[in-house]
């Protein structure tokens, strides 16, 4: 008896210990120690992350973790961001909300990415969760301001409403007035994605005024410059602020008003917005620049000289998003001023022009990689690259964790040697041993995939476009990249062999996307039959794949591991390759 007790703590003690363990991975490890730890852990898990909403069912999640308070769900594949996934593909959140509504009345947080969120879903959230606090919709669609009004009106304890990069339908800004006068708990509001020209400024100002805990406020383009000063004065405690349209007639009173308002914001660390920016109004933010750690100028059409001037006031920047107007000279200045820079994203101002409109080349990236020792995450659009530059960058910055390079014209070779960029990217994966995410571009042969398979052992996400020679390339990646979770490929000559030879690998990954490649319908069927724990979805808007020969390549292919078999909400242009031909007859019969 005594021996037994010495080996086991009371459940409450273990729970208390587990409460210090937040990461999902660690929690999962804890739950595998023994049966009793599994049981204790599952009742006290408060946060659940589901990377693919079709990998598991809401009922299963609730059954395993009956007491969670926070859920994060992801829906569509990443390439949906670039319009490669046809509308209607799926990713509906409603079934999840419906299941959780009954079982988890104390749910507090819902975070969704690339999902379809209808007004009905929002209304159900508002109605079902009395203590609802946090709603983050990232790259979601399907809702209108009607649904937002329901949330505003009902969720008394709402702290966070973040609609980053969503596509919502605007039916007006009156939804803001649905926050009751007694409501004061708002901490974070991001409505930068909403359109709408009718803005209820008074409702906004009153809301901001009474929510004294407001830390984050990101407005949308419809809010004019002359309204910002008032808003800032109501919320001098803001830490993150996104302006609306940063333009107005040049008037000294507007300027001094604005400058004064910014000066009173002693806590500001992050700025964004700056649509339609007029350079003359930029100095109004200088008072806060020295404390800024994050600056999003990716909508700001400023010339390089103005950008340099602005950046030179921000020596503590850790994160910068900017257009390629910054040019090589601006990046060189950045490299010398911002030594704490960790993340840089440079977007193209003229993505469809063939000739460069700005003087931004590989040199800018080389400069930043050299001057910013903490730089770990890069997204860079440019028009020319060389192996030499990439090797230099790799040697300068072995601490890269995310490296995404987009050379705008597909299959662009090394502009100095006219060779493929295999060696350059090879250096990146060789030197940057902790690389987690990589996006390739330019002229690439199978050789680059050999490098990746050999060196990129920590790589979790890889994006490939217009690259490679054949199946060998894909085989290198699938057989070599041990940590690979997400692989997305478009317009590459990868066919059946590598895919079928590495079928088991696919069960260790979250998902694989292949579009405009050379995978035949027959191979898809075979894969679907042999791998019951994979959903092999063929997306083809030309019509049913079995109306064409089996050797015909499919248009788009999305393969993901799942515990719950084929989904039932597929649109007419998506087919799942069934596990077993005999089952196919059965499931058809059920549908009839």
């Amino acid at each position: 008896m005594h021996k037994k007790m010495a080996f086991s703590f009371p459940d409450e003690v273990l729970e208390h210990v587990f409460s210090f363990i937040q990461s999902d991975k660690d929690r999962n490890s804890v739950s595998m120690v023994c049966k009793s730890w599994y049981e204790i852990e599952r009742y006290c898990r408060r946060k659940v992350f589901v990377g693919n909403c079709y990998a598991v069912s809401p009922r299963m999640v609730i059954r395993r973790f009956p007491e969670f308070r926070s859920i994060e769900l992801k829906g569509k594949p990443h390439f949906a961001d670039f319009n490669l996934v046809p509308d209607g593909w799926g990713g509906y959140v409603f079934p999840w909300i419906a299941e959780m509504a009954g079982a988890l009345p104390w749910l507090e947080e819902i975070k969704l990415k690339r999902m379809v969120v209808t007004d009905e879903s929002l209304e159900l959230i508002a109605k079902s969760f009395k203590n609802f606090k946090v709603l983050v919709l990232s790259s979601c669609e399907g809702f209108s301001t009607d649904g937002l009004a329901a949330i505003a009106a009902t969720c008394k304890n709402l702290k966070e409403l973040d609609l980053r990069d969503c596509e919502g339908d605007d039916l007006g800004w009156h939804w803001l007035s649905y926050f009751p006068d007694t409501y004061t708990s708002l901490v974070s509001l991001n409505i930068s994605c909403l359109g709408s020209d009718e803005v209820s400024f008074s409702a906004l100002e009153r809301l901001v005024g009474r929510c004294t805990n407001l830390r984050t406020l990101r407005l949308n383009r419809a809010v004019p410059l002359d309204k910002i000063a008032n808003i800032l004065r109501h919320a001098p405690q803001l830490v993150e602020f996104g302006t609306g349209s940063y333009t107005a007639d040049l008037r000294p009173d507007i300027y001094s008003d604005l400058a004064g308002a910014f000066s009173s914001c002693k806590e500001l660390k992050s700025l964004s917005g700056f649509w339609d920016v007029v350079p003359a109004y930029l100095p109004a933010i200088y008072p806060v620049c020295s404390k800024l750690t994050s600056l999003n100028l990716s909508y700001a059409t400023l010339q390089s000289s103005d950008l340099i001037k602005l950046v030179s006031h921000c020596p503590n920047l850790q994160r910068l998003l900017v257009l390629d107007y910054i040019e090589d000279s601006g990046l060189e200045a950045l490299a010398s001023i911002c030594n704490d820079l960790q993340e840089l994203r440079v977007f193209p101002s003229d993505p469809f022009g063939v000739e460069p409109n700005v003087s931004l080349t590989e040199q800018g990236l080389v400069a930043v990689s050299s001057g910013c020792p903490k730089l770990q995450s890069v997204l860079y659009f440019c028009r020319q690259m060389s192996n030499e530059a990439l090797v230099t960058i790799a040697k300068n910055r072995p601490n890269f964790t995310r490296f995404r390079l987009c050379i705008i014209e597909p299959t662009t070779a090394d502009y100095l040697t006219l060779e493929p960029l295999d060696v350059g990217f090879g250096a990146i994966v060789q030197y940057c041993k902790d690389l987690q995410r990589l996006s390739l571009s330019g002229l690439l042969t199978d050789r680059v995939f050999e490098y990746i398979g050999t060196y990129a052992k920590k790589l979790e996400m890889l994006s490939i476009a217009f690259a490679g020679d054949g199946d060998l390339g894909l085989h290198h990646v699938l057989s070599g990249c041990e940590s690979l979770r997400k692989l997305e490929i478009r317009d590459c000559p990868f066919g059946d062999k590598a895919l079928l030879a590495n079928a088991e690998k696919l069960e260790t990954m979250r998902s694989l996307w292949m579009s405009s490649c050379a995978v035949s319908f027959g191979a898809c069927k075979l894969l679907g039959q042999k791998m019951p724990r994979l959903n092999v979805e063929v997306i083809d808007e030309r019509g049913p794949p079995d109306s064409r020969p089996e050797s015909c390549p499919v248009d788009k292919l999305y393969i993901y591991r799942t515990l719950v078999g084929p989904r039932f909400d597929m649109p007419p242009f998506v087919w799942t390759m069934e596990d077993d031909p005999s089952l196919q007859q059965l499931s058809r019969a059920n549908l009839m």
Binding site: E167, D446, D471, D491, S516, R542, C552, L591
Partner: protein
């Protein structure tokens, strides 16, 4: 080291290079890559070529519905009724790099072999005008490259658009579209505006979800109509079958023709003023500048739109 290779944009001059072939063979042997020993194989080794010819036949036969479809939409089209389905011409609505965009492949290419030498999908010369234009632009940059098909470069070259490339989110593109680069002079600014994409939402009465279409990719009403038809034909089919059931079980060709013959739907759009108008009454440029969203409306609901459209036109001119 082999001499530098020209890689033109669409790979027309792409030859499998001796050096590349050799290295992939040696790699095969080096890694002991024994794909043949793999349990999972199609049982159709090596010899399968993508049956593009057959595929095109099938696509064309789907398109043969079109004669019936014209009646539904053509009433609204400018110039009345002459609506040619741009089947074989490479299509305005397909990007250059879509291998199935009505272009034809090099027949005998085995895409699944390591020596295919394909850097990307290939379009035959005859397919579309756009590849030639792009080729000309590229020649300005690549040394010693292909010359002289006699096409002079436009003052502000823009590339033919590939769906989803470069990989930029639509909200960024839409932002840039309304604010051309300040660095350029007027000519370039106009050209830049012309090259931006313009996604508008399209809804169809009775369809469960919205689609989006890029008005800049469709250069004319004809192309827009064909793009929409392709997008929404699955709905009319879907009405007759259930998810996952092939069309063979459900809809027959004649049924679809019936639906479209009956002119059940008309194409309308919401303009900047918030009014709903019939598509086709105004010049294409004016349309793309003022169209905020599209709606494929049931004909019964569209009565009364035409007079308003005419009034507006008259007021404008």
């Amino acid at each position: 080291m082999s001499k530098p290779i020209e890689h033109d944009y669409i790979g027309l001059s792409e030859q499998p290079l001796p050096s590349m072939e050799k290295s992939s063979d040696t790699n095969d042997k080096k890694n002991g890559l024994r794909l043949k020993d793999t349990e999972l194989r199609l049982g159709l080794p090596g010899s399968d070529s993508p049956e593009r010819e057959d595929h095109d036949q099938n696509v064309l036969s789907l398109k043969s519905f079109v004669p019936g479809a014209k009646r539904g939409f053509s009433d609204a089209l400018d110039g009345g009724g002459k609506w040619v389905f741009s089947g074989g011409s490479g299509g305005g609505s397909e990007g250059l790099f879509s291998p199935r965009g009505g272009g034809k492949n090099n027949g005998g290419n085995d895409l699944s072999g390591p020596d295919s030498g394909l850097g990307g999908p290939v379009l035959k010369d005859g397919a579309a005008q756009k590849p030639q234009v792009v080729q000309e632009k590229k020649s300005q940059r690549v040394a010693g490259s292909i010359h002289g098909n006699g096409i002079t470069a436009a003052p502000a070259p823009t590339r033919a658009q590939v769906v989803g490339w470069p990989p930029i989110r639509s909200f960024r593109k839409n932002t840039m579209a309304s604010h051309p680069s300040k660095n350029d002079d007027d000519d370039n600014a106009e050209a830049n505006l012309g090259s931006e994409c313009l996604y508008v939402k399209v809804s169809m009465d009775g369809a469960p979800y919205l689609r989006k279409v890029d008005l800049k990719i469709s250069g004319s009403y004809k192309e827009l109509s064909s793009a929409l038809e392709k997008m929404f034909s699955c709905f009319t089919i879907g009405q007759c079958g259930s998810n996952g059931v092939s069309s063979r079980d459900g809809l027959s060709e004649s049924r679809l023709i019936d639906l479209l013959h009956s002119s059940e739907y008309v194409l309308t759009y919401e303009d900047k003023d918030g009014d709903w108008m019939l598509v086709g009454d105004v010049p294409w440029e004016m349309f793309t500048n003022s169209c905020k969203r599209l709606r494929i409306m049931k004909s019964t609901e569209a009565i009364g739109l035409a007079p308003r459209a005419m009034e507006k036109c008259q007021n404008r001119t």
